[in-house]
Amino acid sequence: MLSCHQATRLASEAQERPLTFREKVSFKIHVMMCSGCRNFESSMSTLRKSMQEFASGNYESPDSDFPDNKDRDN
């Protein structure tokens, strides 16, 4: 049985490589029962879409000052 940590790892790796049959099955079973990981998986595709949109420049944030690397409150 996968842990959520393992499941999120697979959800992430699936972005880079096809999962093996075994991995796919374990993952599917886990997300059937775990809404957190189901939501994580779907947020992965949102994240990828967002990166593509951001890179394409269809929407721009206002030109803020250089990134403040001390802002780590999350």
Partner: protein, 208 residues
Amino acid sequence: MTGSISQAKDKQFDGASQLNDTDYLETLRQQMLKFANLQISDTHLAEDAVQEALIGAMKKADSFGGRSAFKTWVFAILKNKIADVLRKRQRLAEVSELMGSDEDDEALTSLFDKNGHWNAEDRPNRWGDPEDSFKQQQFWVVFETCLNNLPGNQAKVFMMREYIGLDTDEICKEADLSISNLHVILHRARLKLQKCLEIKWYDGGNHA
């Protein structure tokens, strides 16, 4: 890997025009210098780091239609260059400060309990339709913040994957990483970004 980028939007401009806009590049370079000088007290070394970062970033400028994304990319490269300089001078505490430390990654594993399952309060929620968010200016401000908050190597590597669209072998070669290191870094970056976006934007269905 670049996906379906609509050509019809008015604000689109391509990477090539960023290379040609010397005013823009000079402004960017000044911002970079300001940042680098804060980290490296030696102005010559700071200038070198900025120069190298710009040259490195410009090689991939074609991947960027947008200035915000390009700037985020440039600064990710710059931070890594600065960290290299600091390491050479044994300023390891400053490297930690700039790039984040192992504590950041411990914070990620604290998302899960001892059995590796989500802690109740950290369990991801359902996000709304991203297209609705994309139309909102404020979303992109938040998104950029979350990207900028990625520690250390994660920002650069994640952007190589998601902006430039390099495949894993290419990234491993350029960033001198093993494939398993790469997967770990990308996993951490995604956990962190998911968390950041959820807290700052999507949480509780407050936003689409």
